[in-house]
Structure formats: C-alpha cells, structure tokens
Subunit: 364 residues, 4 copies
C-alpha cells in the first residue's frame, strides 16, 4: 500500500516540479526535529541532510521514532561546505557559535542560510559577545543578516542570503508589545516582560534541571535580570520605538512541553482609550495570517496555538493603574523556532508565506 | 494578506473541484473538535455543520479557540434530517444512543454516516443493551453497519452507508494482538489486555474525577472486569480466531492528554520462534500505511504517534514463561477516533486512504 | 496491630492531656482536606466535625480516600451554632459569604473562628462588596477580625476571636515584597506582581476550565486587572507603606497541583545596594521560622516548599533598570491556606507557632 | 524565633533521651533524599552522615533546597568503615554492587545496615549475578541478610544486622498478590503482573529518557520480559506458595513523580467466591497498619497513598473469565524505598513499627 515515502531520497523533482532541497544541521535537537516534522509534510521540499554530530551514521528515525518509516536517512555530520553544494537552504539549529564558525562567503554564494541560533540576531557584536560570553567568529556577516521576523522585516527577508531566525522569547515578547511601542502609546521605560516557557525550550541536553521529576510540579524563574534574550528584545523594540529601550525580562520554566506565554506591563505614555489601544493592534496585525488579535476579554493561552505557527495576542487596559497588560502566546517550537524558520524560507523562495504552515492548533 | 478562509462558508466547490460536504454532530466534544481540526486542513472537504446541542448559536471558535479565525460558523443543533440534505457524510461524535435514536432509512438514503459512538459496533443487540444499559433504538441497521477498522474490513467500508467507527481501546487492542490470534499462535483463553489511556478519552464532561488535580500525579484502573469496550474487542477477536474469545480487559487512566498504550499477554498455543511470531505481524501489516511494526526490541510509546493516525505495534517472546507480550500505541483522538473516522470516509468516497492523514507525529 | 485510631472519635482527652476540639466547615474542599490532613497528624488536636453540605452523611474517607482507616467520621452539615458548642475552634473553608452569613455574637462568645474565605480580610466593606459582588452579612465583625498573617500581626492573632486567614496570592505576594515596601526602598507606584498558581487554587468545583485536558500543557493569565485578591494585597501593603498602594496584579494558572510563585517588579525609590536590600529582608524575616530568605542567586521554586508551611523568598537587583525583582514561593494549600490557618490556631491557643507544621517539603 | 534546628548537629542526646544515629550513603539520590526528609521529622533519630560521592563537601541543602535551614551539614564520602564507628544504623541508597563492595564483618559488628539496593535481596547469588550482570562482592552475607518486608518477615527483621530492603515493584507486587498465593486460591502459573511507576523510580541520573519532555505526555513499557525485579518477586512468591513461581512482569513509565500501581491477573486455582477471596486478604492484612484492604469496588490509586507508607490493595473477581484482578498502590519513594527502610529500622531498634511513619497521604 505504501512504497517509497517522500523525504527519504534525493530525487530532486516529484511530478516534474522542482523541490527545494533543505539541509538541517542540528537535526536531532528539539528544534531540528520540529523542522523535520514540518518539512516532511510538504510536497515541495526535500530534506537532503539530517546533520547531527552526536549521532553520525545512526538512523535518524532511531533517534526520533515518530519518523519511523517516514525517514530512512542516517544522520550526517555538520560539514556545511559539503552541504552547501547539495542544499538550496540550510537550517542551523545548533548551539550558539556553531553557525558563525562554519559560515563563509563561498557557502553563502551557494546556498541560503536560516540560522536558528543567536549568532546573527544582534547587530552590535560587542553586545553579543558580552551576553553570550563567546567570541563571534564571523562578524563580517552580521550587517548583512536579516532578523527573520516576517511581520516586521518581510521585504528584507525575501532578498536575504542569511536570516537570523528570532529567539522564542523575543518572538513572543515582541509581537505582544510591538503595536503599542510603535504607536508610542506606552512609556517604554516602564516596560516589564514576564515570560513563561514550556520545557522543550531547554533543549534535549541532559542535565539535572531538565529531568522530569525536577520540572514536574514546579515553577521557577531563571536567568533573572540576565537572560540572553534580553538584548535581542531590546534591540528590536528600539527600532520600533525609534529610541533605545531597556526592559526587565524574566523567563520562567513551566511543567509543559511546548508553549510560551508573555505577560507584559507598561504605563500609558498618554491618555488612551481601549479602542485606541486595540486599533494599534489592528493596524499592525490586521493583515497578518499568523498573528491573531483575540477578541476583547479573551486571554491568549498556549494550548490554543500548540503545534501551529500562530501567535495569539491581546491587551487589557487597567484604568486603576493606567497600565496596559499585553499578552502573547506561541508554540515555542513552531512560531518560536522551526515554523518561523519555514515562514522565512517561504519568503526567501517566493512561496506563499503560510505554505506548509496551516496546521490547526492541536487540542487537547 | 488573508481574506476568506476555507471551511467557514458553504461554497460547494473550490477551484472547480467538488468538495465533500461533512457535518459533525457533537462537534464540541473532544472527538468532534479533532474531526474539525483534521478536516479543516483538507482542500477537498468542507464542514457544513458544527452540531452541538449545548452550544447552539454560539460561535464554534469561542468554544475551541484554536479555531479562531479558521472557523466562522456558529454551532447548530443535531437535526440529522436537515443535515442529511446538506451533507455528503455525517460524523456522529455523540454519547451512546444518540445516533441510533436519530438515524432512519430516509437519512441513510441521502447521506453516509460514520458513527463514532458504540451504537452500531456490536452485532448482537442484546450484548449491546446489556453492557451499555440502553435500549437500542434502531436495531434494524445493525446488520448493515460495517465495523470501520479499515485494516480488517477495508472492502466493506468502501461500500458502506453506515460505518460503526471502532472504540479507542478496541482499535489499539485489536491491532496489537490480531496477527497472533489470526495465525492461531496464541491460546486466546489466556489473553489479557492491560490498557492505559490519556484523559481525553474521558471526554469534556465536567465531573470531579476528570479535574486536573484528581488526574495529575495519579494512576488508577477503572471499569475493572466491566468496561464496555470488552464485548467489542471480544467480538472482533472472535471473528479473527474463528471461535468465541473471552478476555480480561482493564483500562487505566494516565495523567496525559492523548494516547493509548496496550500491553497484552497470552500463552503460545504451540511452540513458535520469535521469527515466526514477527512473520505473523509482517503478514498482516506489511502493506499497511498506518500500522507500523517496530523493529525488534523497540517498544511502542504514545509520544511517537501523538497527533497522527499511526498505530505502532510490537511483540516480545518471553521464553521463560512461553508467553508473548504484545504492545500497541495509538493517539486515542486520531487512530482511536477522528482519524480513523476520516480514514473510513476516504474509503467510502474513493479517495486515497491516507488523504489528509499524513501528519507526522508531533514531538515533544 | 492498630485498633482505634486518633481523630475519629470525640474522646476529649488522650493520655490525660487536653485536646483542642476543631471543627471544619467545608471539609471536602481542597483546603478543608488539607486542614484534615495536617490536623490528623497532631496529638493535641481532635477534629470533631467534618462539615460538608454536599456530602452530608457520607463517610468522609469515601470522599478523600487518603483518609481511609484514619477517619471514621461521616460528613456533617454546616450548623455553626451547634458546632460552636462542641468545638474550641472552627475553620471555615467555604465559598465567600458563607462564614459571614453564619457567624454571630453568640457563636463568637463560645468558640474561635478562623475563616479561610475572604469575608473578613478587607476592612472597608464597600471594597469587599464591590470586588466580591456580594452583600456582606456581618459587617459588625469586620473591625474586630484580625488579618491572620502571623509574620505581621502575631500579637493581635494571639488575642483574636475571629481571624481572617489571608488569601493564597496575598500571602505569597505580601511576603515577597513586604520588606522593601516597609523599608521604603521601592517606589510602590511601580509595583507589579505577576503570580503563578497550581490548579488546586481553583478548588474542587467541576467546570470545564478545571478539567485535566484543559489545564495540562497550558498556561494562561486570568482575572487580568480584576482579580479579587488585588484589594487584599493593596490594603496590607498600604499598612506597610504608610500610604495607599495601588498595584498591578496578574495571576496565571500553571499545570501543577500545588504551589504559588510570585515574581514582583518595582523601581528603587532611591539608590540602594544589593546589601541594603538584602538587609531589609533579613530585618523582617531573620527570626521567622517559616520565611526562608534564600542565599544570593538562588531562586524560589515551588517544589522546594511543597507540602510545607515555608515561604521561600529572594530578591535580585537589576542595575540596568534600577529595578528589583522580588520572588516568593509557597505551597498554596499550606502557607496559602490550611497551614497558615493552623499557624494562627497555634498562636490563638498559646502553642508553639510551628506545632504540627514542621513537615519537611516533599520532593520530588 | 528558631535557633538551632534538629538533625544538623551531632549532639547525641536531646532532652536526655538517646537518639539513634543514622548515616545515609547515597544521600543525594531521590531515595536518599526521602530518607533524609522522613528522618528529619523524628525526635529520636539524628542523621550524622550525608554521604554523596558526587557532591562531597557541598552543602547538602544546596543539592536539596527543600532542606534549606533544616540541614546544615555538608556531604561526605562513602567511607563505610568510618561511618560504622559513628552510626547505629547505615542506610545504603546506592547503585547495585556498592553496598556489597563495602560491607565486611567488622562493620556489621559495629552497626546495622539497611541496604536499599538489590545486593542482598536474592538468596541465590547466581540468579543475582545473571540478572544484574555484576559479580557479587560479599556473598558470605547473603544468607544472613533478612528480606525486609515487615508484613512477612517481621520477627526476623527485629533480630537482623543486615536488612535487604525490598525493591519498589516487588513490594507493591508482592503485597497485592500475596494473600491469594499463600491461600492457594490462584494458579501461580497464570500470574501476570503489569506495573506502572512514576518517574522518580528512574533516579536522579541524567539521561535523555528521563528528561521532562521525553516522559511527559507519554507512556511506555520497559524491561519487557527482562526487568531485574522479576526474580526478586518470584523468589518471595515462591516462599509464599511453597513451590517455584515464574511470572510475567512488565513495568511501565508513567508521567508522574511518585507512585506505583500494580495490576495483577491470575486464574483461580479452584472455585472461590468473592467472600473467600476477600477473606484471604483480611487474614493476611487485618492487623497490619500499613496495608489497607479497600472496600469492595474501590480501586487503589497512587494519589491516595502519596507521601505515606501505606499500601492500598484490592481484588476483583471476574466471573466471566474466572480470573482475579489484584491491585496495589504504593508511594515508590516511601513504602517502596525510604519509608519501608525506616519501618525496618523501627523494628530493629525495638520501636513502634509506625514511628515517624504516620504521615497522612498528601492530596492533591
């Protein structure tokens, strides 16, 4: 009944149509696995390289058994030079520093790169090096790299060779507060972002803090006043505001697999009605497929976006405190990582932006 | 960027191609929501009726907020007569007894019905009435109804007007043990099925036993020696064995949303090697898309099928006890309910059996 | 080996020592069950009344099977007049409004009352009536009632007839921020409290939003800018600050049974070093048994207080924003409800404050 | 308000009463932590040694922050010779093989040992070496060691120098089926034990399979037909039956922290009524404090024993299959490990068997 399945060969075309050849470096991490999951469901993309330094020569489906009989390929290494010759696009879902250490002009002249690490997100290399405690190995490409938040940088993404795919917290934080920052309706000096993340954000590395019994039945903050996504959020908000923005950002670890919820607080910069505030959201997101501004009084919840590329946002005006509470929910693995990377790929290849990304959120 | 979305109107055709018009009665239960989720992702099906007695006139997407902006329809009642005129197929995802109380010859002459309740699963009406403690309101259709396990009854399903979609436990139990029963390799008198289910199987009804704090951090058996899926499993196994089969069946409630795992035990009916046993599985499932016989030593796990229509099965021969341990894992909402219903729909409409059902399992 | 167990009779004394006779109204709610659990482990308290309107005449241990063979009593009604004659102390773990509707001078002249509802927490009856949308039935006792946060009102609690046991969020919020409010180190106009709660806080009532499948794998805010614990927190902080305090308070529902985590943000009112800030905490809590100020850099986590009456707090100074991040963790069922009620009882009866409350937090 | 806390010094006596000095080797594993939790709540025991090879010289409370301010001690190594001079009793909560490699006659002449590993549970050393794939380093003490299931071996435990504390699965499995095995009411050749365990049973070691995202929303079997607790269960059941017993045993991993549920199946050896069957349980457990035979129709659930040393058991007779379904629930960390070890300690020191073990199960 089924013979050869898609995505496990390297046929090049299917029914005469050209297929995008994609390579994944870091394919056995959670974000890499999510890239594979989403790309395998497409008729127009073929994954030609499952890169995983830790599992070279092992069957990919033996690591991610959900792919059993869907992927026949073995894991390969992270030879980006070789991969660049075979792939139209390379996704790097690897620890910070790796992409920057591998990329060069020759590679970029042969293929497109969508980097899911932080290497090219921050324009000021000294800020990167300070927060990430790493020397940047390819600063010459930082200026060229496009910050891949399509809702903001759609046109630049289309033309990019190198896309810096945003972090999960920055994506959710930015989308939740952007309209009011851009409209000048809130005092950015008062902006506080309290974020909550599922545990897949911590990755598949083995450490005591990620064990089931340590995470389950628990909630904690981490990286208080020091989390590395802070400068990324600040940089993007500064562009939106037109002046430097400094925020308080606190992530928390929640006992669930997927999902990020952001609750952000800021004082109004001037008197504004709920209608004016909602109008700012409508103005930014009215035409966006992936950003859903919920109806008044409805709170974003991570379960309603799980498995999808949607970002649900909403805002409440508190007349007692003259503050707004801005909320956003995404699936950190999709809109916060692999889905957004594919959204960027679509733009870079002239495809409909939501191609392969129309999954309805899965519930329960 | 997006205007009218699919699945929220009643346009009839899209790009000139005929669309199957589907109605869901019981659309706000978990299985009904899963039907909507899966059908909304298809280009060739249109949901024309979101039936929900409890939420008539409410926006469907206000009940299942994951559908926000994907479904504009309001909930309708369960007027099957009316619906039969509009729909090519009706899914009834309702409590036991409702479908039987609504169906009649006129309806069946106008539309196809896929009943996700137990009303038409059991051929002997007295067995149904005893285990379900209900009077059957339409026994005249029992003989005609086809038990919709495509891996067994594929050809009959294709021709059916009325499909009895199998229960979640019976689907997983049957697929796990069927090859050895059919091959006569196990002594069915010794067959014991110990099943474990996620909590979505209990439905969306409000009762103390389904509250988060009651289910979380707990495991328990329920319906011990009395669960209503028992006669359904026994009937199907009896057909496979060619003689009456009586089993012990014990379900357990597990603190997770989705998934059923079955662990079944039986003594060998005669000497058999691991190879012979595995050959029986290969013979039954070698051509099946949705049943994956795992490699030796690999156990089925619910996480590897979540969100998909796959059933993963495997078997271990224990030479110490001369028993086999047969295991199966499904997503109870997909292969155990909505996915299998759509698999049946595909067969009934002459479509590829896996149309709209090629979702890669979602992990983590 | 065991014959008669404690706590199931009404013997009055054990080994000649007087036992406190305690009654619980609302004994089958989660907080009521926790009171029973904690009181049963004491040699000096006897529970003489398990009140539960919903389960009158049912065996208490049939509702809470953990008590099987530990409690033989049946559930009684909520006849406080009758109970007042039998009990030295009455705990009311009931919905808002019930305690106020039952209490009168005669009762208070016979027994002590520790009310776990909000009825007597707020001194301004119009504030209570506005936020709780209830008419207060016994406003004449509001002035007399002591807000039972022993770390603040220890001496008044000792003399009280009527204690208003604090809410779970107010307890955790207050303890986390109190030292800096009292010391005048933070600008209370900038105070934002972002709280996260386990699901037991929602109680044992049956509603869709509390079902396992709705809570699991999800996080959401609720009661945004409108949660009824807001005025309670504000009132207590106003006393500490010496001037009216208005805050932003947002609770979130976390998929775990127990625990509250508070993350609070405020701008410094004046330059202050980390040492000065920590000194304020030490000054308030240095002698407190139940409040543990964690070491620098260690975040409070709910798992480390689970099952215990501890409140773990800590603070981080962020020099970039000149804000402090104040954190607190409690078990909402213990320090947030039943444990604190017993702490108050101990004070009211001249017992060591931590009698029966020295449970080591349970992990994992 | 509090000054010196108990359990953190080495004072020897408190208020003139002799205190048992206890040492824990493997104190930073989950079972070791549970021993500490339970022993710290006693007035008559002092923990004098927190042994942890991995964390020597680190503060114990920095590893288990629930102990903050309750334990001041640093971690020590596993020098059992030294410890034997200081301690009245040594608990070894360590991987298999360690206790056997450390113990000698000199040590046993100085102190009592309660070994929570499997080293001394199995009388036939060749069986141990085959299943555990280890050479036994101290076979000379196997005969002397007492299998520490007090409900069976109470008198021998009282006199023992060396107690082999039972495994978690064997404890629960044995207690669930023992009465019917002993009474000869079931055919032991048909005995099948299907067990489900919380994740703390896997220990605190870091491996991918124990990560939150791998365990959460999943259930799987493991060690199918090969789990090392199998021969331990078989040996104890053989003593009860009076003849060799071979069973099928399959453990499963459940997404919860604590708890083991056993569902066991066997055919009746002869006609027996439900009353006769229940009478066998009453005969065995009628006088036992820790084993609670539930009322007819009530299933054991792990939540009702969590945090306690209770084992809840029950049985259902299925007249259709002439099988019994025997069920048992324990907290794997308490009755399955640390609690049972303390129960043994109590017996060895002539204390009431339930001293320090009267915790009411914690719920929710």
């Amino acid at each position: 009944m089924f013979g050869r399945r898609r995505g496990n060969g390297s046929e090049g075309t299917v029914t005469g149509r050209y297929m995008i050849k994609a390579g994944i470096i870091g394919a056995t991490g959670y974000a890499g696995g999510e890239l594979a999951r989403l790309l395998l469901q497409r008729e127009d993309v073929e994954v030609v390289w499952y890169g995983s330094r830790s599992y070279v020569d092992k069957k990919y489906a033996s690591i991610y058994q959900n792919m059993f009989r869907l992927v026949e390929a073995d894991c390969l290494d992270d030879n980006m030079k070789e991969l660049a010759k075979e792939a139209d696009v390379i996704f790097t879902a690897t620890p910070q520093g790796l992409c920057a250490s591998l990329v060069d002009e020759e590679i970029l002249s042969q293929t497109k790169i969508i980097d899911l690490s932080a290497d090219f997100r921050i324009k000021d290399v000294s800020v990167y090096e300070k927060w990430y405690k790493l020397e940047h190995k390819a600063p010459q490409f930082i200026a060229e790299a496009v910050y891949g938040l399509p809702e903001i940088n759609r046109e630049q993404v289309k033309k990019a060779r190198l896309v810096a795919n945003p972090g999960c917290f920055p994506t959710c934080s930015f989308l939740a507060v952007y309209p009011l920052v851009k409209a000048g309706l809130i005092d950015t000096d008062t902006l506080i972002i309290d974020a909550k993340s599922g545990t897949s954000g911590a990755g598949r590395g083995t450490k005591v803090d990620s064990l089931f019994c340590e995470v389950n039945e628990n909630i904690k903050a981490y990286g208080v006043a020091s989390h590395r996504h802070t400068p990324e959020i600040e940089e993007q908000l500064s562009y939106a505001a037109g002046h430097p923005v400094t925020i308080s950002f606190t992530p928390h670890l929640v006992p669930m697999n997927r999902g990020i919820l952001v609750t952000a607080y800021a004082s109004l910069a001037k008197e504004a009605s709920e209608e004016e505030i909602r109008a700012a959201y409508a103005a930014c997101y009215g035409e966006e497929y992936f950003v859903r501004v919920l109806e008044p009084g409805v709170v974003p919840q991570t379960r309603w976006v799980e498995g999808s590329n949607f970002a649900d946002v909403n805002v409440v005006l508190d007349p007692r405190t003259k503050r707004v509470v801005m909320m956003g929910a995404i699936d950190n693995m999709v809109k916060g990582a692999a889905g957004q990377a594919i959204q960027n790929m679509n733009l870079m290849f002239g495809l409909p932006e939501n191609a392969g990304l129309k999954q309805v959120p899965i519930f329960p």
